[in-house]
Symmetry: C2
Subunit: 104 residues, 2 copies
Amino acid sequence: MIVLRRHLGDELRRRRLAQGRTLREVSGSARVSLGYLSEVERGQKEPSSELLGAICGALDVPLSQLLRAVSDDIALAELAAGVVGPLDTPAPDGTPSPDVVAAA
Amino acid sequence: MIVLRRHLGDELRRRRLAQGRTLREVSGSARVSLGYLSEVERGQKEPSSELLGAICGALDVPLSQLLRAVSDDIALAELAAGVVGPLDTPAPDGTPSPDVVAAA
C-alpha cells in the first residue's frame, strides 16, 4: 500500500538536504522539535496540517509545490505497483489507458 | 494560513458528490465511520495516511490524482494569498516572478 506520509517525509528530507541544512536548523526555524521533524522525514509520524505548513515555511517552499512533487513521486509508485498513475482521465471502467500500459 | 486538511476534505467531498454517492456508501466501502468521513470532508480531522488510502480506494481515485488536484487548488489559494504559487522556480529572494504578478 502506498503511504502518503512516507513520500511526504522523503520529499521534505530531499528539499532540506538540497538546501544543505541540518535537522536542527530547519526544526528551529519551523519551531518544531528536532525529534519530531526527524520522525516526519522518516515517515514515522503524520504531520498535522499546521506543522506541515510550518515546515514548508521553514524550507521556503510553497505547500502546493511540495504536494505536486509528492504527487509525482506517488504516481511513479502507483505505476510500479500497477495502479493507474499519472493520467487524469482513466477509462470509466478503471482500465488503464494505452498510454499508461505503454509507460509501465 | 493555508491548511492542507481543508483543501483535502473539499476535494474528497467534490469527488464523492461527482459520483453521486452518499457519505454512508463511501464510508462503508472505505470501512471508516460515517462521522469520521464527514469530519475529514469538512476539514475538521486529519486523516491518517492509511485511512486516506482507504478513502481513495473507496472513491476509486489514485492517491496521486487526488494530491495533484489538491495541489492545484492550494496553488490558487497561494496566489490569492500573495504566496508564490504555481511556478516551480521562484526568484531566489522570494520575489514573485513577473509571470506570477501578471497572473495575480
